[in-house]
């Protein structure tokens, strides 16, 4: 075999190694690349081009290697060293003094060096690291600019605030009729004393730097001193190695943005944008759903003759009910939700009969399995965290306690806990040939060893297609997505009228005068609670305060949905 230059061999080996690691870490996956922030993508490109070119020049890859490597079973050349020997074949290394060894072409070597740097950049740069890098100059400039507040002489104790409603009690106390104020005792605000570690006003920079260094040093020493440090470290490492998959899996999930939930709805309706547009979106705009759903109008008027009218209404309702941020916080990430257009009419039956085959045919089996695996690994990781805390001797578990979510108005938002049945869901939304609405059907399904219940809604062929606002689609979809959801108008703007048996009818909008005031009556005319006469009044629908009522509908739906579905 001809001798090959060590530069070529080293470059090729380094490329294969870095490529292999990057590939195994999932950095070449489309999802991972799509999730890069613009700053991270720019940093990767810059690093690859600049450092790749520098690498090529610094290692002088454009000149021939001074040493070579070859495999031979014949005679050895002068000055050659044996690196490895196996069954008469030897891997030999030597100085290229007599004959120049074979090398890759300059183009290939340049490409390989760029490839190595690209792989390193992909491994090192992500949103988090780039943000840290960008933030470092600001942190360094800001270091030592925050000072401890100057000491102030002890103030006089402020007069405690009197509690409202306790005036009589205070009077009785001052007159000596009672000896204790009881619950009327004013609350004393205790001052919290904390040691200030920031820079002192008169402290020189050097002193502050040394102080910071020694305090960090003390912290490290404290951490690594004490009894059984080696034993603890050994146990910790053993535990981490035992759950290596869970540890790596956690990092990989973050890098690859693995879905945290998988919710699917199958419908026999055609795609509102056409099959080609769906393919385009899937490949070229995979992450723009949030933007689309964010900029949605409140209303969508469809034409009865329009072929994709119901599909458009369905997609619009889907976005409004689950993601539109104008109606309070959305329930999840729209990338984890999918409508499967033109699915077979009997999708739910097929899913019940042979679930895994059906999911494979729809191309979602892998995604469902990934989410299930992520849930399993998450539980394993939590257990590992708790075990590590026990080894370290700290109170367990060390994980931060779950922070209850609150709505904008401060109310607690109850949410169901993650389980296979709450992070994965399947529903069928089928337009049937008959012109009658049938009751929702449920199918028990076992997918990858987990039991699920699939809800199937069949709605009439024509239904309310002739209506201007598709309230039927919103209501049917609500009942399909959240089991048992039924809009009762609880706390609706019409509820006061209903309770007092005031009825707002078409006559409330008659009259030539006070037109604006008459239109105020629309605020207490909820289109989701009957009032079908409104659908024939295009003039009123044009100025109908749709948001006013839809907000309520969506809020109630989301409350119900959050108790049934969630994400990791």
């Amino acid at each position: 075999m001809k001798p090959i230059g060590t530069k070529s061999i080293t470059t090729a080996s380094l490329f294969l190694l870095s490529f292999g690691v990057t590939l195994s870490e999932g950095h070449f996956a489309a999802e991972s690349i799509a999730n890069l922030s613009p700053a991270a993508a720019f940093s990767i490109g810059t690093f690859a081009v600049l450092v790749g070119t520098w690498f090529y020049r610094f290692w002088r890859l454009n000149s021939t290697s001074r040493s070579y490597i070859r495999i031979s079973n014949g005679p050895r050349w002068e000055g050659e060293q044996v690196v490895l020997e196996f069954k008469g074949y030897a891997l030999l290394a030597g100085w290229a003094e007599r004959k120049a060894p074979e090398e890759f072409s300059h183009g290939i070597l340049r490409t390989l060096s760029l490839g190595i740097c690209l792989c390193i950049a992909l491994l090192c740069f992500n949103k988090h690291t780039v943000d840290l890098m960008l933030d470092t100059p600001r942190k360094l400039i800001g270091a030592g600019t925050q000072f401890c507040p100057p000491e102030v002489p002890e103030k006089e104790k402020p007069v405690p605030k009197m509690k409202p409603g306790c005036e009589l009690m205070y009077r009785a106390y001052s007159l000596g009729y009672v000896k204790s104020l009881g619950s009327c005792t004013p609350d004393e605000e205790e001052e919290k004393l904390e040691l200030c570690t920031l820079r002192q006003v008169d402290e020189p920079y050097l002193h502050y730097t040394v102080r910071l260094f020694f305090s960090h040093f003390d912290h490290v020493v404290k951490k690594f001193s004490g009894p059984d440090v080696t034993e603890k470290a050994r146990k910790r490492l053993a535990k981490q190695l035992q759950h290596f998959d869970a540890l790596i899996g956690k990092e990989r999930n973050v890098v690859m943005s693995t879905p945290k939930a998988s919710h699917h709805i199958f419908t026999n309706l055609p795609s509102p944008h056409g099959a080609l547009a769906e393919v385009w979106r899937k490949w070229f705009q995979p992450n723009d759903c949030m933007l689309r759903f964010k900029n949605m109008p409140h209303t969508l008027k469809t034409d009865a003759k329009e072929y994709t009218g119901t599909s458009r209404a369905l997609e619009h309702a889907y976005g409004q009910m689950l993601f539109h941020s104008k109606y309070d916080e959305g329930v999840g990430n729209c990338n984890e939700y999918k409508i499967h257009w033109r699915a077979p009419v009997d999708s739910c039956d097929r899913l019940a009969k042979n679930p895994e085959a059906f999911l494979r045919s729809q191309g979602i089996a892998e995604e469902v399995q990934t989410v299930l695996t992520r849930l399993k690994k998450r539980d394993e990781y939590k257990k590992l965290e708790s075990d590590l805390a026990r080894i370290a001797g700290s109170a367990q578990p060390i994980g931060t306690p779950m922070k209850p979510e609150r709505s904008e108005s401060g109310e607690l938002k109850p949410r169901v806990l993650p389980a296979p049945q709450t992070i994965i869901s399947f529903q069928c939304f089928v337009r049937q040939e008959k012109d009658t609405q049938t009751e929702n059907k449920t199918h028990p399904v076992k997918v990858f060893g987990q039991n699920f219940t699939v809800t199937e809604t069949r709605f009439p062929l024509q239904g309310e297609a002739s209506k201007k606002i598709r309230v039927d689609v919103l209501k049917n979809l609500g009942a399909t997505l959240a089991d048992g959801f039924h809009y009762t108008g609880y706390l609706s703007h019409q509820s006061a009228n209903t309770a007092n048996q005031w009825q707002t009818g078409p006559e409330a909008f008659d009259g030539e005068n006070y037109v604006f005031t008459h239109l105020e009556n629309l605020k207490s005319t909820d289109i989701f609670l009957g009032n079908d006469w409104l659908q024939d009044r295009e003039d009123l629908l044009e100025v109908y305060p749709y948001y006013y009522h839809l907000y309520h509908f969506v809020q109630l739906f989301r409350q119900s949905y959050r108790m049934q579905r969630t994400h990791l």
């Binding site: 109008p297 409140h298 209303t299 104008k326 703007h493 006061a496 009228n497 007092n500 005031w502 707002t504 909008f509 008659d510 005068n513 006070y514 037109v515 604006f516 005031t517 239109l519 105020e520 009556n521 629309l522 605020k523 207490s524 024939d536 009044r537 295009e538 003039d539 009123l540 044009e542 100025v543 305060p545 749709y546 948001y547 006013y548 907000y551």
Partner: protein, 190 residues
């Protein structure tokens, strides 16, 4: 033949179903705009004070529908004795009063109360409401397709109607609230 055509036209469901079509709506906006612009400042102030007082006293209710019907009744009674453009002006003021909370959120009201207490509340609140109306009017000015001269009320009414229809579909302000707010802002700051 012509009579038959007219009869058929008037009996058609489309005609019957829309007693408040776009043209009529824009015409009403035009009249309201003209009335506000031509009314003396004192009249506007008096009517505003009247509606505010009634809303805060005899028409005060936890139910918006009750407040609305009470205000309607009071305003109609008041305008019977005054005549002129009183119904149009009162219509604008009543709707503005009822929709103030659409413009100034609860958080903003609490913030004013916290910062200023009850003493200065009314003045700051009314300045904030006026600022919100100004924002709407500015947006209308920036987005209008045609540039209307101040005396072209019909043109401005068309633009106002189009803007508020779009606005009510993407924001949370009802059409009549949007129209009344801008009319009032233009009328008061003429």
């Amino acid at each position: 033949m012509k009579n038959l055509f007219l009869l058929l036209l008037f009996c058609s469901p489309a005609f019957a179903a829309a007693p408040f079509p776009k043209e009529k709506r824009q015409d009403y906006v035009k009249h309201a705009l003209a009335a506000t612009l031509s009314a003396p400042k004192q009249t506007l102030d008096n009517l505003y004070q009247f509606v505010t007082m009634v809303e805060q006293s005899s028409c005060r209710s936890a139910f918006d529908a009750l407040t609305l019907s009470c205000l309607q009744e009071q305003v109609q009674r008041n305008c019977k004795s005054q005549g002129g453009n009183c119904p149009l002006l009162s219509d604008v003021i009543v709707v503005n009063k009822l929709n103030e909370k659409q413009f100034v959120t609860r958080e903003e009201r609490v913030q004013i109360m916290k910062q200023e207490g009850t003493g200065n509340y009314a003045a700051i609140y009314s300045r904030l409401v006026s600022r919100k109306y100004a924002l709407l009017a500015t947006e209308l000015l920036l987005l209008q397709k045609r540039t209307c001269r101040p005396e072209e009320h019909a043109c401005l009414a068309r633009e106002l109607d189009d803007y508020c229809i779009k606005n009510s579909d993407v924001k949370n302000i009802p059409w009549q609230a949007c129209v009344s707010a801008i009319i009032w802002y233009i009328g008061v700051n003429r």
